[in-house]
């Protein structure tokens, strides 16, 4: 315990040097800006900045990238609340309630609960990372393909059944995402699927492409088509502050969100989508009856507080398997891994021994980063909101330029830009007819992973489906999946009877 403390203090000493503090601030500020602006995400940003690893010293650049990663989560909630345009999948759920709150004039409270909740969750999660990194990673190793697959199945069901009014439309969107994920080379056999003879599709459909197309570009097209005459779709920003009742409603949600979010970040089952959806579902179920009706109408603050905390806890927690096992559990974490590899640093159990200074400096900078982000996002939120005051027409047209950078920068393919447009048309149709778009992304990202886990699990079970039921953990998870699917139906049937 004393050794832990000494290591952490050493980390603070390194992270606290002026140059590293500047990198942290730059990362947090850039991350917040990226998070605020729709269409650009932390994964793409960090990826585009990877070349700096040639010039900059490892500790500084990792602190910088981590700052971007976090800052994007903080900033993303600002856009979700004010513009209903989540740039990050992790803030998609915030957009549900947050935007509704903003529309009812409570944008300030939504922003406040989001920033403070993120800070609380981030700080608690960082302490947990400090204490439990080795322990948690060891547990995660015990999970095998059947368990991973069931976790992903759980993610699919929660994302399509919980979000939106209609599970049918959610499921359709999910299968669309799965279908997109099928394009390309099969991971296990190398079999090429659904490319239609188009060479560019052999590598699959790029996630950034789909995300940018379905969110950022769709937003621009939808605005041109339908929202031109709408009154300023940006909501009024009063001071970011909460009343006593709102504090009282928020803090249990923050704690619940942290508890839900943290384990999911440590497990390779898909990042921040699952915990945010779970947290939203939990808050919705646990809310006081008088507040329940605010969900989906005027906006319930618990629906922002919980998911935001879950989001930040999960993002912090992704560092655990990354640093202790070398397993990235989110897209951005994967890119952080390649940043480490650029320096010839092998992330894994030995990282704590060979590069302990770097690891502890990184952990210390998380604490510092959280404080910086709280300041950047709460009192200074007005600064970022100014970004959103730019008139709609040039804003969306400008976003198209950044969308081009993001999409073209990934694969240097102008074909991708055409695909992006096609996806945007699809996005407009989906939005117009009330199909949720989140399941498409989840299906796209998790689909190939889930398929790989499924087929590995079947190999373990030698072709027999019972493998999922024989192992206690996966059987439990399957039972939870069944519960999620059946419970609402049973409740509705009961109500009608």
């Amino acid at each position: 315990m004393l050794e832990l403390w000494n290591n952490l203090m050493g980390g603070f000493a390194t992270a606290g040097t002026p140059i590293n503090l500047l990198w942290a601030l730059a990362g947090c500020a850039l991350g917040t800006a990226i998070g605020v602006l729709p269409g650009l995400g932390p994964a793409v940003t960090v990826a585009m900045l990877l070349p700096i690893t040639g010039q900059v010293e490892p500790t500084a650049s990792m602190i910088f990238f981590a700052g971007i990663y976090y800052g994007a989560m903080y900033g993303g909630s600002t856009t979700s609340i004010l513009l209903n345009t989540p740039g990050e999948t992790g803030t998609m759920v915030t957009a549900l309630e947050g935007f509704k709150m903003a529309k009812s004039g409570r944008a300030g409270a939504a922003l406040a609960t989001s920033a403070i909740g993120s800070f609380v969750a981030g700080s608690i999660a960082t302490v947990l990372v400090t204490l439990f990194a080795p322990f948690l990673a060891e547990f995660a190793v015990k999970l095998g393909p059947p368990e991973y697959f069931c976790l992903m199945l759980l993610a699919f069901t929660t994302v399509s059944a919980v979000l939106g009014q209609s599970s049918l439309r959610g499921m359709t969107a999910l299968f669309l995402g799965l279908a997109l994920g099928l394009v390309g080379m099969d991971q296990i056999t190398g079999q090429v699927r659904y490319t239609g003879g188009v060479i560019e599709f052999i590598d699959g459909v790029e996630v950034v492409l789909v995300a940018v197309g379905l969110f950022a570009v769709t937003e621009a097209l939808y605005n041109a088509l339908y929202e031109g005459k709408s009154e300023a779709s940006m909501n009024k920003m009063n001071r970011a502050h909460m009343t006593k009742t709102e504090w009282r409603r928020s803090w249990p949600a923050w704690l619940r969100g942290t508890v839900i979010g943290f384990p999911f970040g440590t497990i390779p089952a898909g990042g921040s989508e699952i915990p945010t959806f779970l947290s939203y579902a939990t808050e919705r179920k646990l809310a006081d009856p008088e507040y329940k009706k605010e969900f989906g109408t005027t906006g319930a603050i618990e629906g922002v507080a919980g998911p935001e905390a879950a989001n930040n806890a999960a993002v912090t927690a992704t560092l655990v398997p990354l640093l202790t096992l070398g397993i990235p559990t989110s897209v951005t974490a994967a890119i952080l891994l390649s940043a480490l590899q650029n320096y010839g640093i092998n992330a894994g159990p030995q990282l704590f021994q060979t590069s302990s200074a770097l690891v502890w400096a990184l952990i210390a900078s998380l604490y510092i980063g959280n404080v910086m982000l709280l300041v950047l996002n709460l009192p200074m939120v007005g600064l970022w909101v100014k970004l959103l005051k730019i008139p709609k027409a040039p804003l969306y047209a400008g976003i198209l330029i950044f969308a081009t950078v993001g999409v073209y920068g990934m694969r240097q393919s102008s074909f991708d830009l055409f695909v992006m447009y096609g996806l945007a048309l699809l996005g407009v149709a989906l939005r117009r007819f009330d199909f949720p778009t989140a399941p498409v992304i989840v299906g796209l990202i998790l689909g190939p992973l889930a398929e790989a886990q499924f087929r590995n699990a079947m190999s373990i079970g030698e072709g027999s489906w019972t493998v999922f039921f024989q192992r206690p953990m996966s059987a439990t998870l399957l039972a939870v999946v069944a519960l999620v699917l059946i419970t609402p139906r049973v409740l509705a049937w009961h109500r009608r009877a």
Partner: protein
Amino acid sequence: MQTTNPGAPVPQDPQRPDHRPGQLALGIAAVLLAVALAYGAANIPSGAGYAGVGPDFLPWLVSAAMGLCGVLLIREVRAGGYRNMEEPSGAARGDWHAMAWVSAGILGNAALITTVGFVLSCALCFTLAVRGLRISEGKAGGNAMQTVKDVVIGMLISTPTFWLFTKFLAVNLPGLTGTGWL
């Protein structure tokens, strides 16, 4: 808001546009997609090997599921429209004129980016898109003076972006000249 008789057609509010044709179209599209997926799945060798399931398993599954979803969607439309559907935000009718301009910008950018380079192509995209967006707001698209201003703003955005990403961040973006400044 469910009617007690789900079989009866829901009376359509004359103010709200009838979404059912579009909903039906999407349902049919889902079924067509399922057929396309099935066609593709049939062409994938089954090669199950040890695992009992091969690379064609998920394609068949998704195809079947998508087909089922499509059928259920069509059924909902015939019962009076999608259930629990929120009225979509924004205007009742789409401003296709505006969208055409924005689309022209995006597609033009995609077509020209490797020919004229990032800066000019994105400036073009900006000019066309902002024109479309302005039209959607009911304002005039803009006379020649306004268009020139738009081009300038577009260049003011795309040029520093280009420099930042190619010079400092070593991202590969196409340039008009080989100099790396334009």
